[in-house]
Amino acid sequence: MSAAGALPELASVYWRPRMTAERLRQRERLWTLTTLAHVVPFVVVAIVMVALSPLAAPVSLAALAHAWLIPELYARRGATVTRSLTPAADDPERVSLGLLGDLVDHDARELHARTGLVPERGRLGTWLVGEAGALLVSDRRVSCWCVRATDPDGGRLPSGDRVAHLLLALRSDEEGFATVANLAFSGARWRVRRRLPKRQRAALDAVA
C-alpha cells in the first residue's frame, strides 16, 4: 500500500506497526497462548486436587469453572464490538440507511437489515462491520475489533452512517483499518458466536 492510499488515521497511531496477514496470525497465536495460560493451570489444579483427595472435588470444580469462565469473559468483551448504539431520530436513520444501501449489494443489505452487520470480503478474511466495531472471520477463528467514527455531534450519527464510516475506511485500506482498530479479542468462532446477540449469530453463520 502506497502512502497515497493509506488510511489518514494511521497518523494518529504512528507507533503501531502496520497490520499484515502475518502480524495478524501472530496476534491470533498470542491470544491462543493467553487463553491456554488461563485455562491450563486451573485444569491442572483441578486434576491434582482430585487426585490428592476426592474430598477436594468442590475445589476442583471451582478451578474448572474458572478455566471455563475466564475465556468466556474475554469472548464476551470481544462480542460487544457489534453492539448497536443508541439510534438517532427516524428521519436521519432512514436517510443514513439509504446511503449505506447504495454502498453495498442486495445480499449485504438484506443481512444488515436482519443482523445490523454488513459483510465485506477482504484479504485478511471476511469482515462483519457494525456500528462500533467489526468482526474478522477467518477459518474457525473470529477476531473482534473495536473501532468507530469520531463524532463531533456527540454521538448523534445515525446507525447507517456509523457503519458506512467504517465500511469506507475498510474498503480504502484494509490493513490500515486493522491497524487503527483495537483488537478486543481473538478466539474460536463458537466462543464468540455464543456471546453475540441472537440476531447477529445469523451474520456469523452466513459468512462462515
Partner: protein, 74 residues
C-alpha cells in the same frame, strides 16, 4: 450531476452539486470540499464493489464524493 455529501447527524447533507460545464458550481463545490477538509473530514469515492479511495482533491468527474469523519479505535 455530481454531488458532494457529508455524513452527519441528519443522515447526510448535500454540500454541493455540480456539472463540469458549470464553472460557478464547480468553484462552489471545490470551496465546500476544502472547507470540509479543513474541519478534519476525509473525502472518499467508491471504486466499484468492495473498493473505496481516499482523495485529497475534489474529483470533478465523480458522481458522488462522500465526506466522513476520522475513525479511531474504541
Amino acid at each position: 450531476m455530481s454531488r458532494l455529501i457529508r455524513m452527519d447527524g441528519s443522515g447526510h447533507t448535500t454540500l454541493a452539486e455540480w456539472t463540469a460545464d458549470d464553472p460557478a458550481a464547480v468553484e462552489a463545490a471545490v470551496a465546500a470540499f476544502r472547507e470540509e477538509l479543513e474541519q478534519g473530514s476525509i473525502a472518499m469515492v467508491t471504486r466499484g464493489p468492495g473498493h473505496a479511495e481516499h482523495v485529497r482533491e475534489l474529483p470533478l468527474d465523480e458522481q458522488l464524493v462522500i465526506m466522513r469523519r476520522p475513525i479511531a479505535g474504541g
